[in-house]
Symmetry: C2
Subunit: 221 residues, 2 copies
C-alpha cells in the first residue's frame, strides 16, 4: 500500500454544474505533476438529498468542501454534528478580500436571495470592517433569474452581458471588488467584463483545500 494523503470530501450537487466547476478548479489548483500527486477525493453530489455529510464521514473524509454559498448557513451546525472539519468558503473569501492589495473596504455581493438574506457575507466581511453593497431589488431578481438560467444549462451571451452590467452598477456605487457569491455566478460572469477584481469563492475554496491538504500531498517519487 503506497502512502496516501488526506481524503477530501466534496459535498456537491447544489448545483451540479457549479460542483463540476469547483472540482475542475480543485484539480487545477493542485501543484501535481503526476496523477498520483493529486488529492484523494470522494464526492457526493445528490441534488435530491443535499446533506450527505454523514456519507462523506463514513467514507473516511478528513476534511470537507461544500461548493455552495447558500448551504453555508448550515455549515457550522453540520461541522459540529459530524465532527469533520468543513473548510468555510465564506470565511476564506472574507480573509482573501481582507488580504487584497491595494486594500478594499466596499464589496459588491452577487448571490442568491437566500445567501443575501442569510447575511453570511455581511457578517464575515464586517468583521474586518468591510461594507457590503447589494443589488437593488429589481437587480437582485435578475441575479436570481440568471442563476436559474445557469442551473438550467443556459449560459448565453445575453446573460453574460446582463450580469456584468449589474456588477458595474455596483462598481459605480463604489464597490472595489465584486464577490461572485453563488457558485453558478463564475460560470457566467467573466472577470474581464468587470472593471474591478472579481473574487471567486469557488476558486478560493479550491485553493484553501489544496493549502490545507497540501502538506500531505504525495511527493513525486
Amino acid at each position: 500500500v503506497p502512502p496516501t494523503g488526506l481524503l477530501v470530501g466534496i459535498l456537491g450537487g447544489m448545483g451540479p454544474a457549479a460542483t463540476a466547476d469547483f472540482y475542475e478548479k480543485l484539480i487545477k489548483a493542485t501543484p501535481a505533476r503526476t496523477d498520483q500527486e493529486h488529492l484523494r477525493v470522494v464526492m457526493w453530489a445528490d441534488p435530491t438529498v443535499p446533506d450527505r455529510t454523514e456519507a462523506l464521514k463514513d467514507a473516511g473524509a478528513d476534511l470537507i468542501a461544500v461548493p455552495c454559498n447558500t448551504a453555508h448557513a448550515f455549515v457550522p451546525r453540520i461541522e459540529l454534528q459530524v465532527g469533520v472539519r468543513i473548510i468555510h468558503m465564506i470565511e476564506e473569501t472574507a480573509r482573501h478580500i481582507d488580504a487584497m492589495s491595494p486594500p478594499v473596504d466596499r464589496v459588491a455581493l452577487l448571490a442568491t436571495t437566500g445567501t443575501v438574506k442569510a447575511g453570511l457575507y455581511q457578517d464575515w466581511l464586517s468583521r474586518t470592517g468591510k461594507k457590503v453593497l447589494l443589488p437593488t431589488a429589481p437587480e437582485q431578481a435578475e441575479v436570481s433569474r440568471i442563476i436559474g438560467e445557469v442551473k438550467a444549462g443556459r449560459v448565453v451571451t445575453e446573460l453574460r452581458h446582463r450580469i456584468a452590467e449589474i456588477a458595474e452598477t455596483l462598481v459605480a456605487r463604489g464597490a472595489q471588488v465584486v464577490v461572485a457569491g453563488c457558485t453558478e455566478i463564475p460560470l457566467v460572469l467573466r472577470p474581464e467584463d468587470v472593471s474591478v477584481p472579481v473574487a471567486d469563492p469557488s476558486q478560493i475554496l479550491a485553493e484553501a483545500v489544496v493549502a490545507e491538504a497540501g502538506g500531505t500531498l504525495i511527493p513525486q517519487r
Copy 2:
C-alpha cells in the same frame, strides 16, 4: 423523502483532470431544467488507490462509470466481482462508431500505449468489421508524451497542434474517424483541428449513463 433516481457511481482519478472533464460532460448531457432533475452521483477519485469500486457499491451505486480507457482492461472482471453494472466505455464507443452516418470502416486510435497494447478498441471495433489504424512507434511515443503533459496540467498550443498533426497523418492513411481513446486526449485535441469526425469516448460514456439512468430522472414538479 422525495422520490430519487438511480445513484451513479464514478470511479475517477485516472487522471483527475479527465475525471473532472467527464463529470462536466455528464452534467451537460443531462436534460435537466432544475438542480433536482440532475443525476445523483457519488464519485471516488483516488489516484493513489484507483480501484474503489467496492466503496461505490457500499455507497449504493446502481451503476458505475469509469472514465479511463486504460482501466477498461479490468472492467469485466471488476463488474463480475462487485456485482454492479459498469457501463463499458469502449463497447459504447464501438457501438457509436458502428452507427455513424455515413458508415466508416477505418478508425484511427489515439490512446495510451497500455490501451493500444491491451487491444481493447481493436477487439471491440473488429466485431463490426472495422479496421484500426495506429500511430507509428515514434508518433505513439509522442501521443504518450502529450498525455503526460495534459496530466501535468500543461495544455498548450504546441500540444494542440502536434496531436492534431498526428491525427491527420492517420487520416492521410485512410482513417475516417479518430477515436480520442484516452480521456486526456479530448482536453487537448479539438475536433475543429481534425478533418474527419472525432469520437470522444468520455462524451459517449456520459451520454450512455444519462440514457441508462435517464428513465429514472426525476420529472419536473
